[in-house]
């Protein structure tokens, strides 16, 4: 009994691994996807480092506390105005970093589903013993893993390189503090799950990968609102905000996974996905 269960589990894992392998082999041959997956982490890691580097010797300009929203300045505690400004900038960079777990999975998932629709390769795939859960898991992981690895790799490079480009120790403490860690380790993966499922749902309705990608990008809107909200001083990204946002994201994810799983059924795909 136990060995039958183990054998089923290993067969199931092999099928999921095969789907991931297939997705990566196919998707990464697409220049557009490769460009998105390769360029985004590069831009979102190098840009903050470059800004920090070019502003490192301008403490006077940066020290003008009146340019920082007062709600944020209050959060800085007893660090200097210049350091608070750096922390403020880093907080904005964090939101830019969070674009990665949204944009990368959308590019992959949108192509992976719509691409299969256009080449009609879903039917033979669905005719194999692969279950819909395995297929959905394989496709989701194929989009999720590169996004999270790219985000984490970008973050690691940022943490290692930031002190070298003149980031103050107080600002560095912030980068490795709870807000960033919750954002990168918890909110990031939750955002990626949201993006994958959004792309999957949109893909069931459209026939062009780019249209699927553009429509799915709607999930970036709340993040942009946060970015501008913080710039305007309407929102302060503190630990409480991050924890509440993560909990909300988890609820959205559950709803989207449920909707995606209902949509990603053999019969629905074959008879209604046109």
């Amino acid at each position: 009994m136990q060995s039958t269960k183990q054998s089923r589990l290993s067969s199931s894992l092999l099928r999921i691994r095969t789907i991931i392998d297939k997705e990566w082999a196919e998707v990464f041959k697409n220049r557009f996807v490769l460009f998105t997956v390769g360029l985004l982490p590069l831009v979102f890691t190098i840009l903050p480092l470059a800004i920090l580097y070019f502003t490192r010797n301008a403490p006077g300009d940066m020290g003008d506390a009146t340019e920082i929203p007062s709600s944020f300045y209050a959060m800085c505690g007893n660090i200097s105005g210049a350091e608070c400004m750096q922390v403020f900038m880093i907080n904005e960079f964090m939101l830019m970093f969070m674009m990665m777990p949204l944009a990368i999975p959308i590019a992959i998932a949108a192509y992976s589903v719509v691409g299969e629709k256009s080449t009609r390769s879903l039917e033979p795939l669905l005719a194999t013993p692969v279950t819909t859960v395995e297929l959905l898991a394989g496709k989701s992981l194929a989009a999720f893993i590169p996004a999270i690895l790219a985000t984490w790799a970008g973050f690691l490079v940022f943490v290692l390189a930031a002190p070298l480009v003149g980031t103050s120790p107080a600002a560095m403490q912030y980068v490795t503090g709870p807000i960033w860690l919750v954002a990168i380790l918890v909110a990031g993966p939750l955002m990626a799950i949201m993006a994958v499922n959004a792309a999957l749902i949109v893909s069931s309705r459209v026939n062009d990968p780019r249209a699927a990608e553009q429509i799915s990008m709607i999930v970036i809107v709340p993040l942009m609102a946060l970015l501008f909200g913080q710039l305007a001083g309407l929102i302060v990204l503190n630990t409480t905000f991050m924890v509440i946002s993560s909990a909300a994201l988890a609820l959205v994810d559950i709803a989207l996974i449920y909707a995606g799983a209902r949509l990603f059924q053999r019969e629905t795909i074959l008879t209604r996905w046109k």
């Binding site: 067969s11 092999l14 099928r15 095969t18 789907i19 392998d21 297939k22 082999a25 196919e26 041959k29 697409n30 080449t119 009609r120 390769s121 879903l122 039917e123 033979p124 795939l125 669905l126 005719a127 194999t128 013993p129 692969v130 279950t131 053999r266 019969e267 074959l270 008879t271 209604r272």
Partner: protein, 319 residues
């Protein structure tokens, strides 16, 4: 090997009225049989194949494929049957070998490398195994899709239009390959529009248009519809010679067409010598004798158009 009982499929959406794609299909296909499933576009053939391969659920009725029940043992059915879908649906950016390797893994094939190589060689694609499928011709893609359907050595194969759009050479290769599969004892459910192909390959044929119209061997279908006719070519035809033939009780009908007598009878093998003897005794000079054989296309069109006023009479072809 395949048994269906009152199998039906109704598609309904909120916006559109319900459409019956398959209505009460009852069918028995024996192990090792090549069964032709013929019908016009939109008749419900692909829906039937999808139900029998557990891709979609029947709305009503039951089906058993290779001992597994549709709707209950779906994963077992998908593991043990092979399917060639209407469009090959290969991954164009991947090589032929990679395409097959992916499917061999999904089917849980133990010797992935060996099976992939075996079918690449069988279908004469081994030399192109590292090439992207996107560079393949339609025939090569179709052959690759057939290889994919066979990787896990299924006992039951569903082939949906296997030679559609292929050039004569590629179509022949595929047909010969189906003959080989037949010789191996596999059960083949063949959907095709190519009636000549169905005639050559299939032991029995089902003519289907939402409902199953008829099932029989191609030969019996011809006989049921058109009976058997013999054409006797003479140097000249005199009216009394037709009467000479009509005197035989086994002759159903005699028609005179130009210098030919067309005779309807049941067993030409036994009855032809008697007819010939009668004619020779009456002074007729016989040039040659042949059987008027209706094509499967005649049978098909007659069955399908039974309700259509445009259907015309069929004259058959002498063989």
């Amino acid at each position: 090997m395949i048994h269906t009982e009152n199998l039906s499929k109704v598609f309904s959406t909120r916006k559109n009225p319900a459409i019956t794609a398959v209505d009460g299909l009852t069918l028995d296909i024996r192990e090792g049989e090549v069964f032709g499933f013929l019908g016009p576009n939109g008749a419900g053939k692909t829906t039937t194949v999808r139900m029998l391969t557990s891709l979609i659920a029947p709305s009503q009725g039951s089906a058993v494929v290779n001992g597994c029940r549709v709707g209950k043992d779906d994963q077992a059915i998908r593991s043990t049957v092979g399917i060639l879908t209407e469009t090959p649906g290969m991954y164009d950016r991947l090589s032929a070998q990679k395409n097959l390797t992916i499917y061999a893994n999904l089917y849980g094939v133990s010797d992935v490398k060996g099976q992939v190589e075996k079918y690449l060689r069988s279908l004469v694609l081994f030399g192109r195994r590292f090439d992207e499928v996107g560079s393949f011709s339609k025939g090569m893609r179709q052959k690759l899709a057939i290889a994919r359907a066979l990787l896990h050595e299924p006992k039951v194969l569903f082939l949906d239009e296997p030679t559609s759009g292929l050039d004569p050479e590629a179509a022949k290769l595929v047909r010969d390959f189906i003959e080989e599969l037949k010789a191996e004892g596999r059960t083949i459910f063949l959907c095709t529009h190519n009636l000549d192909e169905a005639d050559r390959l299939c032991e029995r044929i089902g003519i289907f248009k939402t409902r199953l119209i008829t099932v029989d061997t191609p030969q019996n279908l011809r006989r049921q519809l058109f009976g058997r006719k013999v054409v006797i070519h003479l140097c000249t035809v005199l009216p009394e010679w037709a009467d000479v033939l009509r005197r035989h009780p086994f002759v159903h009908e005699v028609q005179t067409v130009d210098n030919k007598l067309v005779v309807s009878l049941d067993r030409p093998e036994e009855q032809n010598p008697v007819l010939i003897q009668s004619l020779v005794q009456a002074g007729a000079q016989i040039q040659f004798v042949g059987e008027l054989r209706h094509s499967l296309e005649d049978v098909y069109l007659s069955m399908i158009h039974q309700t259509s006023p445009q259907s015309g009479p069929s004259h058959g072809e002498e063989r």
